[in-house]
Symmetry: C2
Subunit: 255 residues, 2 copies
């Protein structure tokens, strides 16, 4: 039989945020190649007797280099297996999904792409922070703080520092001091509201709010760890009013 | 019993892109207040004996003004009913979800927010257009072409016209000629790839590709109608290679 690859977005963590299509693919899989950002709760929904291959990816080191992941997916499919490539969030938003299916396409392997709830949508919803709002933000921009993938140095800070928009930084924790400097250095008002959402949408969710100026200091005090998402903009000011989801207690550290 | 409101993102159209949480809320609902952008296939999954209230919203006219929708949700919940407020895409990305839960919060009505696959994620996945890609786009920005909600006049075109990023325009069909003029007028290379995705993720999906310069003309030729999403940037060039989803035949008009 012919192999097939489903490139599947696992969403931000809460298994309730899997799509029906994602769950179906996971439960029909012969083999699942997954990233570090896929939550244990989501992995628990993979078909029991599927082979599970960890492809890693932490911001500090890649367990498998990207070209080896691409080759692995092609190899597994050529064995005639139903392969699920499971990635945190959405595979086409800082997920390098495009590179993976480029290889499949070149090798003539059939595939599908099942989008996932990207971290920005999930974290914003569970933190009560609308990404757009007609009083605060007419646009929203996603960037990555991951220094190896372009990173914050190459970004157009002049535009990102302006008001009337929402800025979401994926993998922004380590880059937070540079982020603060870049924004303020390009004219962003230091008091612009900013939030850091750790393990958003899971029971371990923590939301730390402050300003562009204060956030790096607050993060150090609170002992925040990855995965985290940073949201900057006037919409963050709505969190105090609109927060509804009870994650971890404020200030609680998770093991 | 106490009423409760679930603000639910219905995703871009394909019912397979509903989340598990969205489906559960829809099947437990006493009453569903839904928008025009929620697809018939998705509405078919609402509990049969739930009351269904159409709240409208077309870009040309609002069937129910936003403040009346806000008040309606509060009133239904106060009757002790389980209310689902079902919106196309994600309620916090050009969905005015923030305004709706602000009213609920003020009235002391408990609620939850279930994010949905936003049109950009869904359409990009099904059209084979990665929104970020390390060779083409280090960031992605979502704006709306809906003239009543800020609209394209207020946007920071200088930044949006620069290369190395992806620009997604929600409800951009009517504004396409202005969009072209604004981008090119602010230095965007006229040959920058651009795509229009009509009824993305559904069997009726059509993808029309061209350039920032040519897109408005192509759209007129092809008889495109809403809902449509516009994607601008180098990543659109990958569509020819990565397209995998078979929607309607190219050029086919849908009734």
């Amino acid at each position: 039989g012919g192999g097939f690859v489903s490139l599947v977005g696992a969403g931000p963590g809460d298994p309730d945020l899997l799509t029906l299509g994602a769950l179906r693919a996971m439960q029909a899989a012969d083999v699942v190649v997954y990233d570090r950002l896929v939550s244990p709760e989501v992995m628990a929904l993979v078909r029991n007797d599927a082979e599970k291959i960890y492809a890693g990816k932490e911001s500090s080191r890649h367990t498998l280099p990207q070209d080896q992941i691409n080759a692995l997916l092609a190899r597994l499919a050529k064995q005639g297996r139903r392969v699920v490539r499971l990635k945190g969030g959405d595979p086409f938003i800082f997920g390098r999904g495009g590179e993976e299916i480029e290889t499949l396409m070149e090798e003539g392997i059939p595939f599908q792409v099942i989008p996932g709830i990207t971290a920005a949508s999930g974290c914003a919803a569970y933190a009560g922070i609308p990404l757009t709002h007609r009083d605060h933000a007419q646009s929203v921009t996603f960037v990555t703080g991951h220094l190896k993938q372009g990173g914050i140095g190459e970004l157009d800070w002049e535009r990102l520092a302006r008001p009337g928009q929402t800025l979401v930084i994926y993998m922004g924790l380590q880059a937070l001091p540079q982020l603060r400097a870049a924004l303020i250095g390009h004219g962003c008002i230091p008091d612009t509201p900013a939030a850091l959402i750790q393990q958003g949408t899971t029971r371990r969710q923590r939301v730390i709010t402050g300003t562009v100026d204060s956030l790096p200091g607050l993060v150090e005090e609170a002992g925040v760890s990855a995965p985290t998402l940073v949201i900057v903009g006037g919409v963050v000011g709505l969190h105090g009013k609109l927060a509804w989801f009870q994650g971890a207690s404020p200030g609680t550290s998770t093991p």
